[in-house]
C-alpha cells in the first residue's frame, strides 16, 4: 500500500479492463514521472471523451448522439445484426463493404482472467433487442481467438431458442489467435460472405 493520491490512482487504474494490479502500479508510477504537459493531454482527452462521445443506445457503438449513424440510417437492414467485441471491429467490417445490416457491440469478450463474464458485456441488451425487434439473422463476428470463440459459443447457446432466428459465424480463414481488426479487408470480406450457420 502506498500513501494517499498514488494509492488512489493505482486503485482507479486497476478498475480498468485488462489492467491488473501490477500494470496499474506501473502506469501510476509512469504518470508520476511524466511531463506535466503529457499528463494534461491525457486528462484533456479523458474529459473530452466523456463530454463529447456517448454510446449508441441501440448498438453500443461510440456515437455523438443517442443513436449512432448506422442505427439512424434507414438503408441499413435492421433484420440483420452483426455482433462484434469492440467499436474498432465495426470499422474493420465497414471497410469490407460486405455488410448492409446493423451492429451490436458487446464491449469485450468473455475473459475470466480479467474478471469479464456475461454481465460485463452487452449481452442482455442484445437479447432484449432481438426479442423486441424484427431480427432474423445474427452474425457473430467476435475475434478468432480463445476469448472470442468462447463468447461465440456462449452467444450461440443463448440465441438457440429464438424462433425463426438464423445465427451465423464468420467463415474460417481468419488468422487464428488474432484480432478481427488486424485481418486484411479481403480476408475479412471473404470470411463475411462465406459465413455459415451454427
Amino acid at each position: 500500500m502506498y500513501e494517499g493520491p498514488v494509492q488512489d490512482l493505482i486503485e482507479e487504474l486497476g478498475r480498468l479492463p485488462g489492467v491488473g494490479p501490477k500494470s496499474a502500479q506501473r502506469i501510476a508510477f509512469h504518470l508520476l514521472g511524466s511531463d506535466p504537459a503529457d499528463v494534461a493531454r491525457l486528462q484533456d482527452a479523458l474529459q473530452r471523451v466523456k463530454d463529447g462521445v456517448v454510446f449508441c443506445d441501440v448498438c453500443g457503438n461510440v456515437s455523438e448522439q443517442e443513436r449512432c449513424r448506422i442505427c439512424r440510417d434507414a438503408r441499413r437492414d435492421p433484420a440483420s445484426v452483426c455482433v462484434v467485441e469492440e467499436p474498432k471491429d465495426v470499422l474493420a467490417i465497414e471497410r469490407t463493404r460486405e455488410f448492409k445490416g446493423r451492429y451490436h457491440v458487446l464491449g469485450g469478450a468473455l475473459d475470466p482472467l480479467s474478471g469479464i463474464g456475461p454481465d460485463q458485456l452487452r449481452i442482455r441488451e442484445l437479447l432484449t433487442r432481438i426479442g423486441e425487434q424484427e431480427v432474423t439473422e445474427v452474425i457473430i463476428a467476435t475475434d478468432p481467438n480463445t476469448e472470442g470463440e468462447a463468447t461465440a459459443t456462449y452467444l450461440v447457446r443463448m440465441l438457440r431458442d429464438f424462433p425463426g432466428l438464423t445465427v451465423t459465424r464468420l467463415a474460417s480463414g481468419l488468422p487464428m489467435g488474432g484480432d478481427l481488426e488486424f485481418a486484411d479487408e479481403l480476408t475479412l470480406g471473404r470470411a463475411f460472405s462465406g459465413r455459415r450457420t451454427v
Binding site: 475470466p112 468462447a150 489467435g177
Partner: protein, 377 residues
C-alpha cells in the same frame, strides 16, 4: 537436413560468433564455461523456439545487451533456408525467413528439426510429470508444427477456465451464482483443444515406445528392459481406438462433468492432458525413484534416441546434438552412442575433453576458448 551456418550476436556469453558447419560430425571442445553449450543451445532454439536449459528468454540475452540474434542457414533436400530470430525479453520475438519477415515466430517451426541430448535430460526420468509432458509436446511440434498452435490454445483455455473455477467456486461458497453459466462453454473448448492434444500424444507414445525400448536395449544391453506408457487423467478413453479425436473429446467432456464439484472446490482443472503422465518403467518398477544413476542416464538417452529414430522415419533426418554427454557414459555406452551418431546426417557434439569423444566422431573439430571458435587439427 543440416545446419550450414550459425551466427549469433549477444546470445548468452557470445557477443558474436560465426561458424560454418558441414554434414557429418562436428565436435566443439573447450574448458568448462567457454560457451560450447551456448552455441548448440542457439541451434536448439531455432528448432523449438525454446531453450533446453531455461524456461524464459531473459538468460539467453548477453548480460548488458537488449536483444539476442540467432541466424542459421539450414539445408534440407538441397534447398537452403535462412532463419533469423531476434530475441527480446519482455517483448514479442521476431523472425525472418530468407530475410523476409514472417507473421509470428511460430511460423519458422519445422524448418530446422533437432534432437538435443544434454545433461538436463536427466530430469526427463527424475523430474516432475511436467518434464515428460513437455518432452512429448515438443516432439509433437517437431513432427507437426501445427501442434504449437494446439498446445498454446489449450494452455490459454486452461488458464481462462481455472480463473473461472476460482471465481465461480468463491461465488458458490458465498451463495451466489457468479458466472458459472459459462462453465460449460469453457468445458467445450477445453475438451476440443485438449482432445486434439491428448489424441496426438497417445498416437505419439504408441509410435515411440518400441523405438525407446530398442534404443535402451542397444545402449544398455545388460540392463532390464524399459518401457513407456501414457497414463491419462481422463477416464473412459476408447480402448479400441484410443486416438480417435471425437471419442477422446467425448470422454474428456464426460470426465469434466464428473469432477465438477471438486474443481469448483479447489479452483483448478483436474482432468485433461495437463494432468497426464508419461510413465517410465524399468523392469517391473517405475524408473523414478528406483533406477540407478547410470540407468536413468541411459533411459533419458533412449528417449532422445527414440525421438531421433521417429523423426528420421517421418522423413527429413533431424540434426542430432549431443551436449556434454560422453563424459557421463561408460565405455560400452559411449561407443554404442557413437555408432548411432556417426550415421546421422549431421551431429554436433560438445565436450570439455577431446579424449571423451569416441574416435569415429572426431571428423571436424573446433576449439572454443576465450570467446573464439577456431578450427583445431
Amino acid at each position: 537436413m543440416y545446419v550450414r551456418h550459425l551466427q549469433v550476436s549477444d546470445f548468452r556469453s557470445w557477443e558474436h560468433a560465426d561458424l560454418e558447419l558441414t554434414p557429418g560430425a562436428t565436435v566443439l571442445i573447450g574448458q568448462n564455461g567457454q560457451g560450447k553449450t551456448n552455441l548448440v543451445e542457439a541451434i536448439g532454439y531455432v528448432a523449438t523456439l525454446s531453450s533446453h536449459r531455461v524456461a524464459t528468454d531473459a538468460p539467453l540475452v548477453r548480460i548488458g545487451a537488449e536483444r539476442a540474434i540467432v541466424r542459421t542457414a539450414v539445408v534440407h533436400e538441397g534447398r537452403e533456408l535462412t532463419v533469423e530470430l531476434e530475441i527480446t525479453p519482455g517483448k514479442a520475438n521476431r523472425a525472418r525467413v530468407n530475410r523476409g519477415a514472417v507473421a509470428r515466430p511460430r511460423d519458422v517451426l519445422g524448418i530446422l528439426r533437432t534432437v538435443l541430448f544434454a545433461p538436463e535430460d536427466l530430469a526427463l526420468v527424475r523430474g516432475d510429470p511436467g518434464e515428460r509432458r513437455r518432452f512429448l509436446d515438443d516432439l509433437l511440434v517437431l513432427r507437426a508444427p501445427r501442434f504449437a498452435g494446439v498446445r498454446s490454445d489449450y494452455e490459454r483455455v486452461l488458464r481462462q477456465r481455472n480463473a473461472l473455477l476460482k471465481t465461480a467456486g468463491a461465488a458458490r461458497r458465498a451463495g451466489s451464482k457468479g458466472d458459472i453459466g459459462t462453465l460449460e462453454v469453457w468445458n467445450g473448448h477445453l475438451a476440443k483443444h485438449g482432445a486434439q492434444l491428448l489424441a496426438a500424444r497417445l498416437d505419439l507414445v504408441t509410435a515411440l515406445a518400441p523405438l525407446v525400448r530398442a534404443a535402451y536395449a542397444g545402449v544398455a544391453p545388460e540392463s532390464r528392459p524399459v518401457d513407456i506408457a501414457y497414463r491419462s487423467s481422463v477416464d473412459g478413453l476408447p480402448a479400441d481406438r484410443p486416438s480417435d479425436v471425437d471419442s477422446v473429446e467425448a470422454a474428456l467432456l464426460a470426465s469434466l462433468t464428473e469432477v465438477r464439484d471438486a474443481e469448483l472446490e479447489r479452483g483448478v482443472s483436474l482432468v485433461g492432458p495437463h494432468r497426464d503422465e508419461l510413465e517410465l518403467t524399468l523392469g517391473e518398477s517405475p524408473a523414478k525413484g528406483y533406477a540407478s544413476h547410470g540407468e536413468c542416464w541411459s533411459f533419458a538417452l533412449s528417449l532422445r534416441l527414440g525421438s531421433y529414430e521417429l523423426l528420421r522415419a517421418d522423413g527429413g533426418e533431424p540434426v542430432l546434438v549431443l551436449d556434454d554427454v560422453f563424459a557421463e557414459l561408460d565405455r560400452r555406452r559411449r561407443s554404442r552412442l557413437a555408432e548411432v551418431a556417426a550415421a546421422a546426417e549431421q551431429v554436433l557434439v560438445t565436450a570439455a575433453v577431446a579424449e571423451d569423444v569416441p574416435e569415429e566422431l572426431t571428423a571436424t573439430r573446433y576449439t572454443v576458448s576465450d570467446g573464439e571458435v577456431s578450427r583445431a587439427e
